[in-house]
Symmetry: C2
Subunit: 608 residues, 2 copies
């Protein structure tokens, strides 16, 4: 061993001990004839004192930042203690030293506030990983990993590895494929998730399965997606939705406790997908703050059970509202005194292409009881008061109203709500609020093919009460225009998403385990019997031999870590991430391969 | 939840409780008006008693093997207890039942001694996994996984995930490659191991890394290889060989304790590669038994430090020995009374193509002090006695002697030793003997290219005393015939293999961390500067910025599990293995892919 102690270990109790340390030179400070060096390793920083007697030697082999150094010396109490670091009471009076390896001057500083840009740090990722900020993220990631494994182990889950070289069954996302040399002309696929395997393990009776496992999706990468990502993947036998919700609330609460020392004692809120859309405009609401949507107007086929209050705004000759499919509002607390400049800025904000609204209507609920709006021309003070009352606005609030087509407008108000929450400091970094979103629609309508697509995935079961609806009806949509009248349009899924602070951190479902129902599902997705057999024959076969009721969930491990670490970016929590073009710029991968490899695989390029 | 208890849980203390169980029908036995059913789940088997009053209902929905059943009833003490199962004191008097799913008649019996052949069981792997024998293997695998993680965690190792989509740098084994759609014409490779990444993590200062991780090699599959396999992969900073040996003996001993309840207290034996070859004829000797090789004759360039005793056999006009490069013997204990038939059978055994010897010479060391050999014509009793003495044979032993070319003959005597050990019951299933094999040669000679290849891998450091030999000499072999005289031929690696019962379960090395030395290594392997930069520029770059001394090891997780489980086949310890053609016959993968996939990837087939 090159050391007797780590750089984070020595305390005042070790004074007068002979020690050997090894690590990296963080800083070199010369004070006259003596030199101080901060020596760094994974565990901390220890101050080294090089006395005058070592000056000759230091001159012969000068030390620079990031040199790897081994020193022998005596632990001394420091006269000038540093309370900021754990070893701050001591320093090492160096007696001899050895440069284990030199370092060129790093292309950026190895500090929390590094001067390195994103591209440079990605290229030299091995140096970026030395920074404390990045190390803390990976340590948190390991702590989450450890906590999850311990909880699942205590609850009788077994880690069972599923294969990575599987069969390509593209449905939804694109597969990465792997040409097989031994089976020329054929390809493996990398798993988008171990979904069918974990279901087979339930058929095999393994009862409780888990895996922390890499998954792969060949999609065009949005800002915060990676082609390979990690899931905490779980499945259970003989359970209903309630059992899964309880088990996995428990998992996340345990992680809060172990990793953040947070006792999450509250009951985890639950909300139907419909309520989430109605109140928050999206299916993963951030419930750390209120500012719920007031639905002033909405198309009749959506939210059919909800009260229609469009009379509040209709008939005032305000064409924007009269002609809009949807009019939605939020009451932003305490912002009634926004200046013209501020409301103009908000108007510009909603008109950005990412939001795509044509304009913004506002009503100021003044603290003196009066109202001031951008639509005073059309609405009397009385009417404004009625609208304000519908939005639950208080004196001092600023009501923001968007109008337009249902889908886009609801999305826009949701974004605006989140933006205002952020601006007002309502999305507190150290507050964690969990939420289950339930009762999703089982299907979405795919206009281009006039068929159904599975909203979650094709293995999700409908609610028990909808199983017969699904089995007894033909999934084919005879009349595209009337697809909403098809009985499948209203089928609810036995599915659930776990949402943390406005992010979906996990999702799952109770699965189909009846062959007949699974075949109906595949048929709804436009697969004929031959295609079903080719792609999923093994699963349909397994359902013939005593498949038990089962269900599960998968958590996005990268995302979960980034939220717990208070970061927007999952990339900061992955040791070797890829950029937005799917490249590893450090390795320079992907790259060309040898002619011999093409020959052996019996493929060639066919570049457009 | 579909059950109140599992099928392995109920005891006599639960008598008179109302319970709900769910599981699979293992057996149905009718006795007159009553029916007994064994209900099975992951946790055990519970006997169900269906009384006469349920006969009508049973007639309406008859139960078969592997049906999924839910029953409600009362726990009763059994009159006829079964001491073989944990629940054997009780049975459930069924009050009501529900068939949760039917099962077709399985294609083979779900029992330890199943009637299903290998191919059938692979196709229906989800049914094979139900068998207790397979379940026990996967449970053992999980126990090893858990034990390893706990030990490594307690020793400050961090699980850090490394990427799966990396760069193809074929050196040794073939890479599986993955065409990149976003970077058309370029390919990722799947990692053969996380070797370079774990080294970069050491450069980044993570100090102690581990991962239980899938690796991929596209090789023609021998009987017990898989294209995807799992490693326990570890790396440490600031260590020397001794530190690694201690740390990882500790790991394996902990696994013995946790998984097999074996206190492995003995010191783990250590042996140089040269001694292993000298005494056992291979580099992973099974030291559960002796029967060491007696080297009667060997070529002068091998084992140059060993005493030459060829005068014992030379000059007796026995051409087979006189002309042989190598003559080696073992003394098989207690077999001097082998019949002619038995020695003939052994002769046939060594003449099989897998062994490839031309014949077998034997000397019987009779218990009455006489000798009888197949070469009595050439060797006097006195000479036979001298040979016997050299082999350390005792009265009653049978000495077996092989002669031929060095490499083949040594391999053959090693195989013969193992075979005789097996026949004599010396390779005991419940005995575990660990061994470190050390001091491997760093290089092997590649005749076809007249260059060196790395015996372990190109990142292994030479012994400290050999570093200057490597740096100061040109790796080019000027004279192919004299390659043994090149200074590189004698360089020893700072590498180590852990051997368990004659199987290599892990191997590793202290790594090169100096750029100059790494470049020299790459040059020795025939890589010019451009190729070095293209393939490993990131690693050479990392060595510029303060790379610490480091080393590590990787254990073959599948193999380790199979040995602990007492099986020859790793396949039995993998949930979803592939066959010898690399196929998953259950999935029917690999398979063809869609035209759209080819188009998007911009590749096409080029079948010969």
């Amino acid at each position: 061993m090159y050391r007797s102690h780590t750089c984070g270990e020595l305390r005042i109790e070790n004074a007068n001990q002979q020690v050997t340390l090894a690590g990296w030179v963080q800083t070199v400070r010369k004070f006259g004839a003596i030199t101080f060096i901060d020596l760094r390793d994974r565990y901390g920083i220890t101050q080294l004192l090089f006395g005058e007697e070592l000056n000759n030697e230091l001159d012969q082999s000068p030390l620079g930042r990031e040199f790897v150094l081994q020193v022998k010396g005596m632990v001394n109490e420091r006269s000038n203690k540093n309370a900021n670091i754990a070893t701050g009471d001591i320093e090492i009076k160096v007696e001899s030293f050895k440069v284990l390896n030199k370092s060129a001057v790093p292309p950026f500083t190895i500090q929390d506030d590094t001067d390195g840009g994103d591209d440079l740090r990605m290229k030299y990722r091995y140096l970026d990983l030395r920074r404390n900020a990045v190390k803390k993220n990976l340590e948190l990631r390991y702590a989450v990993n450890r906590s999850a494994r311990n909880y699942l182990h205590e609850n009788n889950f077994m880690d069972i590895e599923t294969p990575f070289l599987i069969k390509s069954t593209p449905e939804g996302a694109r597969d990465f494929v792997v040409p097989s040399r031994m089976n020329a002309g054929q390809f493996y696929a990398l798993p988008q998730s171990p979904q069918t395997f974990k279901q087979l393990l339930m058929v095999s009776g393994y009862d409780r399965y888990y895996q922390i496992v890499k998954c792969f999706r060949d999609e065009d990468l949005r800002a915060d997606r990676q082609p390979e990502f990690t899931q905490i993947d779980c499945e259970m036998c003989f359970v209903e939705q309630e059992d899964i919700l309880n088990m996995f609330e428990g998992l996340i609460k345990q992680i809060f406790k172990d990793v953040k020392n947070i006792d999450y004692k509250e009951t985890v809120e639950r909300m139907s997908w419909e309520e989430a859309m109605w109140q928050y405009g999206n299916d993963k609401p951030d419930i750390r703050f209120g500012m719920k949507i007031c639905n002033l107007k909405f198309p009749s086929h959506t939210f059919s059970s909800k009260e229609n209050i469009s009379s509040l705004i209709n008939g005032a000759d305000f064409k924007v509202f009269d002609e809009a499919e949807t009019v939605v509002a939020i009451a932003v607390p305490g912002c009634s005194e926004y200046s013209r400049k501020q409301t103009d800025e908000l108007t510009e904000w909603v008109k950005r292409p990412q939001i795509g609204m044509k304009g913004l209507v506002f009503i100021k609920v003044n603290t003196d009881g009066t109202f001031k709006s951008s639509v005073d021309k059309f609405y009397s003070e009385e009417k404004l008061k009625a609208i304000a009352s519908a939005t639950n606005a208080s004196a001092g609030d600023l009501i923001l109203i968007l109008a337009g087509a249902e889908e886009r407008t609801r999305k826009a108000i949701s974004e605006l709500r989140l933006e205002m929450g952020k601006r007002l400091g309502l999305r507190k970094e150290n507050e964690f609020k969990l939420l289950w979103v339930l009762d999703f629609p089982l299907f979405e309508y795919a206009e281009e093919d006039n068929r159904w697509v599975a909203r979650h995935h094709p293995f999700t079961s409908p609610k028990p009460s909808d199983i017969q609806v699904m089995i007894n009806n033909n999934p084919v949509i005879e009349n595209a225009a009337d697809y909403l009248k098809h009985p499948y349009a209203n089928i609810k899924a036995n599915a659930y998403d776990m949402v943390l602070n406005g992010n979906e951190i996990g999702g799952g479902s109770i699965r189909i385990y009846q062959r007949e129902l699974q075949e109906k599902m595949f048929a709804a997705l436009g697969m004929d019997a031959a295609e079903q057999h080719h792609k999923f024959g093994f699963l349909l076969g397994a359902f013939e031999y005593g498949a038990p009721p089962h269900g599960g969930i998968a958590f996005g491990f990268d995302r979960l870590c980034s939220i717990l670490g208070g970061s927007e970016s999952i990339r900061d929590f992955i040791a070797f991430p890829k950029n937005n073009s799917g490249r590893d710029v450090m390795l320079d991968a992907p790259s060309t391969i040898d002619e011999k490899q093409f020959e052996e695989l019996q493929i060639k390029l066919n570049l457009k």
